[in-house]
């Protein structure tokens, strides 16, 4: 099917795409201005959004690839071969038999229920915990919190979306944010009103279905003055995707005194390029925390960023990355101190094994007028064998002399003595490795909701299996 006759098949948008499972729209591979306009048209978007998409598209076309990161792998991305818009319907669902055996095995070992396995494997588009999502949503609605998928957010709260969309990550930012802006679909839209403190973590996982798992998710979270929210996305189970490019954009706005924590654990199958732009603005006395775990994928490039715009704002970025065979995790953090008395803390941990590569790429800037800022950066790498590799690219540009900054970096290997000690307590080599590795990730894991922490520990134990002689 080509893009031009897609609309003929589906008809114009009427009630939203709430019941689309009977129809399948799939554009041909490749991208053009026409496809971009069609995507917007199919969703019946307001004119301004269509124009933003089109501008972003042109920017994407003219923008060169990043000149850093893993160029060898990046250059392999064939943009022409990618399908940019996909409405999930029965026909697009894969067969359970197509899901690779090793992924199914991991599902079983992690004890994931069958229905959920099928969803994670892309076999079913809907996951039955939808019901749970609804009850969570009702709780939130009572407090005046808006929690919608991004398409509904645009439809139902156009004024808010228009005000903040692209305000933190302009499409001109980089090639992939331009691409996302041009073709985005799905993602979350959250608005927390003044003074409202959402106690329970809000989990995207409860509302998972195909449209939220899109390749080009767009998430926008606004925490109004004095409010707080903890948003959790992703899951530790391997997420199998035949679509090789995943390029999301996440924008967070923390108003005066607000607190946003955004936690992610992602475990893509190892054919996926995961190129994500995440950025937050923290106003006066606001706090933004990114808790970001990356396991799997072929190449991840992800540097959650915080712009400390208001006096006394605080940023924290805690990330872990695990790079196994054939994988490159290029992850890190960016913090820009634009105001006085702002503080930031970056903790980045990477593990590489079986020839995997973990890179830390960090950037901290302190502006001339930002007095009395504090910066703390710690990055630790653990290398599990001779074939694997770790590198760090830290950058600090401090333009105000009153800034206090600390930077520590370490690279370590698992020592034979450490293994011997643990094995003398009855743990075989794989179990001993898992204890060491999970210990290494512990400063990250303890920040996660309990069930995620438990799953991540199990997953890392599985990763330690099989490859030890």
């Amino acid at each position: 099917m080509t893009s031009s006759d897609a609309r003929d098949v589906v008809g114009d948008y009427e009630a939203g795409w709430h019941d689309p499972e009977t129809s399948t729209i799939r554009f041909d591979a490749g991208l053009s201005e026409k496809i971009v306009r069609d995507i917007s048209g199919l969703k019946n978007e307001p004119e301004w959004m269509t124009e933003v998409r089109v501008k972003a598209y042109h920017h994407f076309i003219n923008q060169p690839m990043p000149s850093w990161g893993n160029l060898e792998i990046l250059d392999n991305i064939d943009f022409e071969a990618i399908t940019y818009f996909l409405r999930s319907g029965d026909k697009t669902e894969k067969d359970w038999d197509d899901v690779p055996e090793d992924i199914k095995r991991t599902f079983n070992r992690l004890g994931i229920p069958e229905a959920e396995q099928k969803w994670l494997g892309g076999v079913t588009a809907q996951y039955e915990s939808e019901a749970v999502y609804h009850s969570i949503r009702e709780d939130l609605e009572e407090q005046g919190v808006i929690f919608l998928d991004m398409d509904s957010g645009l439809r139902e709260h156009e004024d808010i979306v228009k005000k903040y969309f692209c305000s933190v990550v302009p499409f001109q930012d980089n090639k992939f944010s331009a691409l996302n802006t041009a073709v985005w679909s799905g993602g979350s839209f959250i608005y927390v009103p003044k003074g409202v403190k959402v106690e329970m973590p809000v989990q995207a996982y409860f509302r998972i279905n195909a449209k939220n798992m899109g390749q080009f998710e767009r998430t926008l979270i606004i925490a109004d003055e004095g409010s707080s929210i903890h948003y959790v996305e992703g899951c530790t189970a391997p997420t199998y995707s035949t679509e090789s490019l995943h390029s999301a954009v996440v924008e967070l706005i923390a108003h005066k005194g607000a607190h946003i924590r955004y936690s992610t654990v992602q475990n893509w199958s190892n054919n996926v390029y995961n190129l994500v732009t995440k950025r937050a603005v923290a106003n006066e006395n606001a706090t933004v925390e990114w808790v970001d775990g990356n396991i799997g994928s072929k190449l991840t490039m992800k540097y959650p960023a915080v712009i400390l715009k208001g006096t006394g704002a605080h940023a924290e970025v805690i990330s872990v990355a695990y790079a196994g065979n054939g994988q490159h995790q290029d992850a890190g953090a960016k913090v820009h101190h634009l105001a006085s008395n702002t503080t930031s803390k970056i903790l980045s941990k990477s593990i590489s094994k079986d020839g995997g590569r973990g890179s830390y790429r960090g950037m901290v800037t302190v502006g001339k007028k930002a007095e009395n800022c504090k910066v703390n950066v710690v990055c630790d790498a653990l290398i599990l064998d001779e074939e694997s590799q770790s590198d760090t690219y830290p950058t600090m540009e401090i333009s105000n002399p009153t800034c206090r900054s600390e930077h520590e970096a370490s690279v370590s290997k698992v020592s034979d003595e450490q293994l011997f000690y643990l094995m003398s307590r009855g743990h075989n080599e794989e179990e001993a490795m898992a204890l060491i590795v999970n210990g290494f990730f512990e400063p990250f894991t303890r920040e996660l909701p309990m069930e995620y922490a438990v799953e991540l520990n199990k997953l890392m134990a599985l990763e330690m299996e099989g490859s030890i002689g």
Binding site: F420, Y421, M423, H427, A432, L435, G439
Partner: protein, 251 residues
């Protein structure tokens, strides 16, 4: 199995690199017996301990080690641990991020296998052992040996001894770095755990032997047992040093 030697070491030779360190050790430890192994720094005490636990760096070139008749030299370190061999390390390793409580629970479960206590019983055992060792509850939340003082490390080793309930316990210089009060506490822990087990206490001071009473004392010199006897041998070493034995060896 009473009367039968629990651990039998016969003519054990071991080397690291090209250097032979153990040069023919013979030693038999029976169930319920406490043996002290004494010797100067560098005489091969830790090497013997590590060889018994299966450290991969040391190569056994001759001799045999059996536990209740079973050849243990063929076993992996963790298999030996599950068989009931325990080593209290002279230099325990740290594992950042691994919490003591979690580590103890996991180790007890693998080592004691089917006999491992269920959650509540484990708690009870743990609390009682910690009380005996005067160890604070906060200990459980700390990372294994990470930033521990010498004394704390030794207490954790003995806490593990008490919970893992081995049939053969090898304690390598558990007394060094302990003040007298700590030594007394730790000795209480040892005495409580080894009454049914065979126990080899490695030390180069007589001091700890005032609190745990060895049935036998052996002196190792240059990778060989130079002399064996009762507790009086330890006292003699305290008074006269090792020279008189070394002369004997060098003759």
């Amino acid at each position: 199995m009473s009367g039968k030697g629990v651990l039998e070491i016969v003519n054990l030779h071991a080397k690291v690199g090209d250097e032979e360190i153990l040069k023919g050790i013979d030693l038999t430890l029976k169930k319920g017996e406490l043996h002290a192994l004494m010797g100067r720094n560098g005489s091969g005490k830790s090497t013997l301990a590590k060889v018994l636990m299966g450290h991969p760096e040391y190569e056994v070139t001759d001799g045999s080690v059996t536990l209740d008749g079973e050849d243990i030299l063929e076993l992996e370190t963790w298999e030996r641990a599950r068989l009931g061999i325990f080593l209290s390390f002279q230099y325990p390793q740290s594992v950042p991020g691994l919490q003591v409580g979690n580590f103890l629970r996991k180790s007890v479960s693998t080592v004691r296998g089917d006999d491992a206590p269920k959650a509540r019983d484990f708690r009870r055992e743990l609390n009682s052992a910690m009380e005996k060792l005067s160890v604070d509850k906060k200990f459980l939340g700390r990372y294994v040996n990470d930033g521990f003082s010498g004394g704390e490390k030794k207490r954790l080793e003995i806490l593990q001894l008490m919970l893992l309930k081995p049939q053969l316990a090898i304690l390598d210089e558990t007394d060094s770095g302990l003040d007298i009060d700590a030594l007394r506490t730790v000795a209480t822990g040892i005495n409580a755990s080894v009454s049914d087990a065979a126990c080899l206490i490695i030390t180069h001071y007589q001091r700890i032997l005032d609190y745990v009473n060895p049935d036998y004392v052996h002196v190792i010199i240059d990778g060989k047992i130079a002399s064996s006897g009762g507790p009086e041998l330890a006292r003699k070493l305290e008074e006269s040093g090792y020279e008189w034995l070394e002369e004997g060896v060098n003759e």
